[in-house]
């Protein structure tokens, strides 16, 4: 009886966790939860969403908030005020909330983090595919299948585009003459973001 109850409870717990994103037994390298759920992250309040994914100073060793670029959160409909007409690509793919954070590693490197909840996994997949095509992204991100994360070169670095469930992330690394090093650091940021999503 006890075992049956425990088994039932465990199953129920897994189901609850599955609704919130990557859950029990999820494969972190693919970014897909085991039940293929496509629900949102559950955090649609911009302020709360921003706080969930914001990096504190030195949370990633050596990285601190860029004092020249303000931290920004907002609803999808607020994106125009942050990125002007570039908002349409995200809005058309269901952007509900978004966060932009710029970090610096002294004066040597810079990182821009973009986090969005696009409502469904299909939207997030579509967003990565769009960026991949637009920017000819083909740089492998260590530890991730190309279907989950892919990088595109920029001047002095790269931008990694990734999705985990309905969540969509961009990690833009600058100051890396060696692109593979930039990709490795981007991967570290993605791993941290993925852990924040759980």
């Amino acid at each position: 009886m006890r075992i049956r109850i425990m088994r039932t409870s465990l199953t129920f717990a897994c189901l609850l966790l599955g609704l919130g994103g990557p859950g029990c037994g999820s494969d972190t390298t693919s970014g897909h939860p085991p039940d293929g759920s496509s629900q949102t992250s559950g955090t649609l309040d911009p302020t709360a969403f921003g706080q969930k994914y914001k990096f504190a100073d030195n949370e990633m060793s050596g990285w601190t908030q860029d004092p020249t670029i303000p931290f920004w959160t907002g609803k999808g409909t607020d994106l125009e005020s942050r990125i002007d007409g570039g908002n349409m690509a995200y809005l058309s793919r269901g952007c509900l909330v978004a966060m932009y954070q710029d970090l610096v590693e002294g004066d040597q490197a810079a990182c821009e983090i973009v986090a969005m909840d696009l409502g469904t996994e299909a939207n997030a997949v579509s967003m990565v595919a769009y960026e991949q095509q637009l920017r000819s992204a083909s740089i492998a991100i260590p530890g991730y299948d190309a279907s989950a994360a892919i990088g595109a070169a920029i001047q002095g670095g790269l931008t990694a585009y990734a999705h985990f469930g309905s969540l969509y992330f961009e990690v833009q690394m600058q100051g890396y003459a060696d692109q593979s090093t930039g990709a490795s650091v981007a991967a570290q940021f993605l791993q941290k973001l993925q852990s924040k999503s759980k």
């Binding site: 020249t68 125009e80 990125i83 002007d84 570039g86 040597q108 070169a153 001047q155 002095g156 600058q174």
Partner: protein, 560 residues
């Protein structure tokens, strides 16, 4: 070109469109519903000048931000290039005269108000300090006080990046650039409603809307976008003069408005694109291509934008666009895609221009000393497939300057081009004009070495200049042959005189008159009259003698 010549102010058309008539102090005139408006009385709307110079950046920082970019720019070189561009744009021999032709005021310079519109949504790609400083120096040289020069981006949602300029400008610190940096529209009178074509109004920077600003300088950046055919350049830079509205027709309309094109003289007098650094795909984020190192300017935004797309964004940056929308940059204003004129000037310091630096074997090279490029224009390109202007060599097609080695060269002194026209060319496949040499086809001038040299159509003897191996002119009154591999005599009567061709065959007379072989060389016998020449007879005799001797030696000849 036809449209270019027809640029003039049509008051009647403006009146028909319901626009204000001339007033005692100034005339407000939006873009007319028919016809066009000449922004500058001596500079065509369609003329766009560019300079590509990788040395404008002393280095390319691995980390590109406002500080590192401006730290890496060679200000003196940038500003010298701007002077060279101005002289070309205005067709003046001095920078001073050029800038005075470009910028005009109906007031004393001391009372003239100047506004410089910049784009500050992305600090990683904003107008470089060196560019803004140059315009401030020009205005100061005219006598415009620093307090009358304002740098602005009035967009209240993403114009905060303008604060990056603050530390470089001051009205009290003489070590800094004498001008005002406006926080949003605070130093530009706030905002006011401005009429735009179509019968509507939109919020606009007040000093622009109300005509307080006499001279508007539009400094845009080269970036991609989701609208306007996937590019944001001069026209869309007026988001921040006008409130934004992401509709292409709105962008066109604000650029036809009194606020932008009103005033006497016309308010917006120069559109400049700082493309030292550029974004290919989007309008925000770190630059995603190698710095193109271009500066581009003209008096009319649609032409500047169109040619920036066609001459820089697509061939140099590899960007793609919505072709129909890009075409509409011009057609919306009544121009055709054949109207704009693109002029590339070499760096003022005499350095070599090359698209993509001094790349060898590049697909597309324009300007400077491109080597092996498929297409080269301006500067001293080498080995390009197509070279135009400047001094080029080895291009397939070169025009202007001293092109050499190209397949096709036109203008200047082309060398080696396959097709050289104008100027002095050599070695080209086809040379025309100038002193082309070596071209496959040379026409006019003193073509030399071309496979086909055409000396133009003239009466009497036609000569393809000092052409070697060329075809020779098409003389109208004389069958003449001159040099060349194939010298074609004229179609009319008269004796043709061969030029001083070397190695060419004699031409074939067309009608009457003998054809005369060239002075030296030549392989064939003149066909006219089928007469045996002395050489032919000697050769025939020699052959007979040789055969006779052979038989004697072999003992087979019993005739003696």
């Amino acid at each position: 070109m036809q449209k270019q010549r027809r640029d003039f102010l049509k008051i009647a058309a403006a009146g028909a469109a319901g626009l204000a008539l001339a007033r005692a102090d100034r005339v407000f005139a939006a873009w007319p519903s028919t016809g066009s408006l000449a922004v500058n009385p001596t500079i065509s709307n369609m003329r766009v000048v560019a300079c590509v110079d990788p040395k404008m950046m002393t280095s390319i920082p691995a980390l590109l931000n406002f500080t590192t970019e401006n730290g890496a720019v060679d200000s003196a070189r940038v500003q010298a290039n701007m002077d060279a561009m101005a002289m070309s744009l205005a067709n003046e021999s001095t920078a001073d005269a050029a800038w005075k032709a470009i910028f005009r005021s109906s007031k004393d310079w001391a009372a003239t108000k100047v506004a410089i519109k910049v784009n500050t949504i992305e600090p990683k790609n904003m107008a470089r300090i060196a560019v803004i400083e140059k315009f401030c120096k020009i205005m100061a040289g005219f006598g415009v006080p620093g307090a009358n020069i304002t740098i602005y981006d009035g967009n209240t949602t993403y114009g905060a990046g303008i604060s990056n300029y603050n530390s470089y400008f001051s009205l009290t610190d003489t070590t800094k650039i004498q001008a005002v940096v406006s926080s949003y529209n605070n130093s530009m009178g706030g905002t006011a409603k401005a009429a735009i074509p179509g019968g509507t109004t939109a919020n606009c920077t007040a000093d622009i809307a109300n005509g307080v600003t006499d001279i508007l300088i539009n400094i845009a950046n080269n970036k991609g976008h989701t609208m306007m055919g996937k590019a944001t350049l001069s026209m869309k830079n007026h988001f921040g003069t006008f409130a934004p509205d992401h509709d292409n027709n709105y962008v066109f309309n604000i650029n036809k408005s009194d606020a932008i094109l009103g005033g006497t003289p016309v308010r917006q007098q120069l559109c400049f694109i700082d493309s030292i650094i550029a974004n290919k795909a989007s309008n925000t984020g770190a630059p995603d291509v190698a710095p193109p190192c271009y500066l581009i300017m003209g008096v009319f935004a649609p032409a500047v934008d169109y040619l920036t797309v066609k001459k820089v964004r697509e061939p140099v940056m590899g960007a793609t666009h919505d072709a129909a929308t890009i075409t509409s940059y011009l057609t919306t204003f009544g121009y055709a895609e054949t109207d704009p004129v693109w002029v590339v000037v070499p760096p003022a310091s005499g350095g070599t221009n090359a698209d993509g630096g001094t790349a060898t074997g590049g697909t597309s090279g324009s300007g400077g000393a491109g080597s092996g490029g498929v297409s080269g224009s301006g500067g001293a390109g080498t080995g390009g497939t197509s070279a135009s202007g400047g001094a080029r060599s080895g291009g397939t097609s070169s025009s202007g300057g001293a092109g050499s080695g190209g397949t096709s060269a036109s203008g200047g002194a082309g060398t080696g081009g396959a097709n050289a026209s104008g100027g002095a060319r050599s070695g080209g496949g086809s040379a025309s004009g100038g002193a082309g040499s070596g071209g496959a086809s040379a026409s006019g001038g003193a073509g030399s070495g071309g496979a086909n040299a055409t000396g133009g159509s003239t009466n009497g003897a036609a000569s393809g200049g000092a052409g070697a191996g060329g075809v020779g002119g098409t003389a109208t009154s004389a069958p003449s042959a001159s040099g060349g591999s194939f010298a074609t005599g004229g179609t009319s009567a008269g004796n043709g005189t061969a030029g001083s061709g070397v190695g060419g065959r004699t031409g074939t007379s067309q009608s009457t008159g003998p054809a005369t072989k060239g002075d030296s060389g030549g392989c064939d016998i003149a066909a006219s009259g089928r007469r045996t020449t002395r050489l032919g007879a000697m050769l025939a005799l020699g052959a007979v003698v040789a055969e006779k001797l052979r038989r004697l030696v072999s003992g087979s000849d019993r005739s003696s």
